[in-house]
Amino acid sequence: MQLNHAQRELTVKVVYYGPGLSGKTTNLQMIHARTAAEGRGKLLTVETHDDRTLFFDLLPVFFHTKGGYTVKVKLFTVPGQVIHNATRRVQNADAVAFIADSRRSAGQENNSYWNNLQDNMRENGLNAAQVPIVIQFNKRDLPDTKTDAELEETRARGKEPVIGAVAIRGEGVLETLFAVLQLAYRKMDEQAGLTRNLGLSEAEFLKLVFARMDVDGTQVRDWLAAGGGPR
């Protein structure tokens, strides 16, 4: 995160990471579609074609706090194959959404990308334990998908929140964003005292992020109303 008191600006960086074709870009496209134009920038794809291909999507979402701060949430997708280069670009991610493919056949690939993520964070001087991660199990509608019980097992194996999703239909997308931003906020609050210094509480932060998003029919609406979040 970058906190600039002079410009009264807080920039939050969230990285969507996972195996190729697991639905990272789809997540961003859905967030883009559900956010009013005043609250987001364009969904941008940066792509270079040569021997060291770089490819990522970038979607900025922003809002203004009562205290006069502009909060920019930059959502990146980072394709696994260039993680080495790309994590350097996005190395100071405040949180990571790990988009996994729910199909049993994808288990091995999920694992290898997961390990890769941990390795690369370590290589870039990041303590994996300090960067919160949320796991999204995407493509819950496809055959061969893991059962809810199996998802429950994955959840039990770690501390990361696990969210089922069908990103292509928008299911679970905002829930994942909510979860990842909630953890990002907690980490930033711990580091920079957002509540104290910016007068920005967790509830307020999340409320403002989602104020310009269409949360109808999602759990986010209930979480915002009642406070709380995913497990």
Partner: protein, 504 residues
């Protein structure tokens, strides 16, 4: 994370050193995203089409585009009066740098109901003309502003009396005629034109942002890889220096140790010889046998130490070759003589085939003899009982391998052979195909390293062919007259074995 404070730059969090701020962490300016030249052309076309002056400023007030249409004469005339100049300057400052809010004389524009104004404001000029100002918003930031005008509002009739009050002596008729050159239109129309312009600008900025980010990120990635490679190069260079140091140390250690070993060994052999020859009293048969064994083993040890010294001298670059005319056949015969006892012990036959015409060549006699002895003793050593060793010398003729006239010396055996993957390594010092502690064949692994160095010192090459279990064939190709000796014979050790070609 960084608590930016005054400049907002992130602190480097990488222990490998500071890395410049990424374009992704920086707030882009309008000038980053627009090609100012092309943009000016577009603005000019737009201004001409709508007969309207257009100015575009970035957030710091720098003007990126400025196209005047029609108002030059009028504004110039008003500006020529002192009070007119003062008021004009004020209006321009308000338009260019004033708040993008309906304060300080600005108001909301008149527009058709339901028009989304995106923060547009109207700033009236004291002459009765008007400006429209629109913030350029991008991802929640104000990147600059577009100023349209001045234009004459449709409803404006005569010039306001405030103008005559402020600028006494103004010729209203002349001012009025100048005014007619300025676009007259309803404010709501100009609002629409400005909104249209804003759409165009947004498209341009979006395309520009993408291009800019792509190219910048690409440059950053390339620089990053470059930094990585440089760091890696530095590490490799350091390692290389270390390795060379170690190699030098090793050679010097070997030279010292060998020398220190040889001196007492000579005494051991000398005294044993005296004992064996009965110079200090006669020995019985058993004692003589024991002393001869001491002498034999001492000789073996001395040979080994001499080889080590040879190699260390080669490695230290201290070997010089002195070429003289030699008769190859004689030299080979002498070399065979020195290995014949071992061959006889194992029941090996040694055949020699010499060409019809004697081969006379220039060579370093001692070194060449050693090449032959080394190859022959290898052949004898690695050939099991009852096998054969063949020595062949060819006539002098052109040898493509060395691109000169030369001759070949071939030692072939029916021995154990060499595995194909080891063929490249056998010429390295201390290399043994069987490196286990229980290996069957003795030796220090120096013979072939010396052969290679000496042959190359003669401007020749050495080749090997072998089939495991079938035997080996070493072929030395030497020029008739070798090139003048190089000061340094390159040591075989420092020559890294070529890595196998990459498959993909």
């Amino acid at each position: 994370m960084s608590d930016g404070g005054d400049n907002g730059r992130p602190e480097p969090r990488d222990s490998r050193g500071e890395r410049p701020e990424s374009v992704l962490q920086r707030r882009l300016t309008l000038a980053d995203m627009l090609d100012v030249g092309t943009f000016n052309e577009l603005v000019k076309g737009f201004a001409d089409l709508y007969k309207l002056g257009i100015q575009v400023f970035d957030e710091k007030g720098n003007r990126l585009a400025y196209i005047k249409v029609g108002n030059g004469d009028f504004c110039g005339y008003v500006f020529s009066f002192p009070e007119g100049q003062r008021c004009c300057t004020q209006t321009v400052a308000r338009v260019k740098g004033g708040p993008l809010a309906t304060t300080q004389n600005a108001r909301a524009p008149q527009s058709a109901a339901g028009t989304k104004l995106h923060g547009m404001i109207t700033v009236p000029c004291f002459t009765g003309l008007r400006y429209l100002v629109l913030p350029i918003l991008w991802e929640g930031d104000v990147l600059g502003r577009v100023v349209f005008g001045p234009f004459t509002p449709e409803e404006m009739g005569e010039l306001p009396t405030s103008l005559t009050d402020l600028t006494p002596g103004i010729d209203l008729a002349m001012a009025q005629s100048y005014l007619s050159k300025i676009r007259r239109a309803p404010e709501s129309t100009i609002v629409k034109v400005l909104l249209h312009f804003a759409q165009l600008l947004e498209t341009l900025v979006a395309a520009g942002q993408k291009t800019y980010l792509t190219s910048q990120v690409h440059i950053e990635a390339t620089l990053e890889s470059n930094r990585d490679l440089e760091a890696q190069n530095r590490r490799l260079e350091q390692m290389n220096v270390q390795l060379k140091d170690m190699d030098r140390l090793k050679s010097s250690f070997l030279a010292t140790v060998s020398h220190e070993l040889r001196t007492p060994l000579t005494s051991i052999i000398g005294y044993s010889e005296m004992l064996a020859e009965g110079l200090v009293g006669s020995l019985n048969q058993e004692q003589t046998e024991y002393v001869r064994t001491i002498m034999d083993k001492g000789d073996t040890l001395l040979k080994l130490i001499s080889s080590i010294l040879d190699v260390t001298q080669i490695e230290a670059g201290k070997v010089r070759l002195t070429f003289e005319p030699v008769t190859v056949g004689d030299l080979i015969a002498s070399a065979i003589t020195s290995v014949r006892p071992q061959a006889q012990k194992k029941g090996l036959t040694i055949d020699m085939k010499l060409p019809g015409r004697k081969v006379e060549a220039r060579a370093d006699r001692e070194k060449l003899r050693q090449v032959m002895v080394n190859l022959l003793s290898n052949a004898v050593k690695f050939t099991p009982k009852g096998g054969w060793v063949q020595v062949l010398v060819t006539e002098v003729k052109f040898q493509p391998e060395i691109d000169a006239d030369g001759w070949r010396f071939v030692v072939q055996d029916s021995g154990v052979g060499i595995p194909a993957d080891q063929l490249e390594k056998i010429f390295q010092s201390f290399y043994q195909v069987d490196n286990s502690s229980t290996r069957e064949f003795g030796g220090a692994g120096l013979g072939l390293a010396i052969v290679k160095s000496y042959v190359e010192g003669h401007g020749g090459v050495v080749r090997v062919q072998s089939e495991l279990g079938q035997g080996s064939r070493f072929e030395v190709i030497l020029p008739v007259s070798p090139p003048p000796p190089r000061a340094v014979i390159s040591p075989p050790l420092s020559e890294a074995p070529p890595s196998p070609p990459e498959r993909f």
